[in-house]
Symmetry: C2
Subunit: 198 residues, 2 copies
Amino acid sequence: MINYPNGNKATLNYKNSNSKRHIYNAANRGMSFEREINISNDYYINNKIALITKRPTPINVVRVDYTKKCKIVDAYFEKPSTTDYNGVYKGYYLDFEAKSTKIKTSFPLNNITLNQIKHLENVIYHHGIAFFLIEFAALNEVYYLDASYVIDHYKNSDRRSIPINDVRKFGHLIKQGYLPRYNYLEIVDQYIKRDSNI
Amino acid sequence: MINYPNGNKATLNYKNSNSKRHIYNAANRGMSFEREINISNDYYINNKIALITKRPTPINVVRVDYTKKCKIVDAYFEKPSTTDYNGVYKGYYLDFEAKSTKIKTSFPLNNITLNQIKHLENVIYHHGIAFFLIEFAALNEVYYLDASYVIDHYKNSDRRSIPINDVRKFGHLIKQGYLPRYNYLEIVDQYIKRDSNI
């Protein structure tokens, strides 16, 4: 395992993802993908390339114990109504959702909420750059897929997944390396160049 | 109390802020100000004027009870390293922190972290629009104050607060109304007009 400088910890601090304590559930699935995106973003921030941050996981706090240093004793994870990441790059507003799948043949849409789709539509409407970062974990491939493509599929197709061949055709394979871990801004640059009115 | 359409609930759901259960602490201080900003943002979103959202309160989850529908049983509020709000308006990236004070004579900086100051410096560096919304609760006045002014004061002044006269001189009084509750984008427009290279 490479030791990245200034590596952000993932929000839920599941450090030992391969240890016995690792539990496969919705909360930590794809956590390693998230961590590597955070590492990429740290690189972008530290090198003054872009400022992109992860939105904290929305949590509905029910009860706080004020006798114990404001310890939260009753709370629940909320369904996200926005996306995982947003920020600013060359003056452009960026907004994206990161998804990891173990499936090799398609990108399933069942974990994307209608509110997230509406949110991404709004981003595009207000001239932001909206996209998905999709990890096919079993293939070790990460793709940039424009949000407009996913929105169109979500609304107009009966299929609840996008075949990997379409992801490859309409998306962009992200270059993986050491620094930055995922060079997704390289793809954003293509969109900025292609449409200066974006 | 006016019933706003599509009114967002504040993150921590302290609805009965005047009830006996109301506890004055750091978590819910200024919650009503936050709620009214959320209402303003809902108006902006629903009328397709801008897309500005509140970042969820960062919470460090220590323990989850998976036997009880993923109930969080041990967690703590984290110190924020970014700001409360960000989003996109006319293609511009907006990023701001909202603060409410009961003091009538100055805006105290003691609740602003160094990480937040660094974050706002980064926003400006990457050509975003960064500012503070400051409520003087006892005066019922809300001001827009450019982040660069606050950053300069934070770094170069011995005073840990900004006198209200300076807030009035270098900031902008926000028009309050029904819809939008706080018309702060009116001020953003002035900044966009003044400097198209922002």
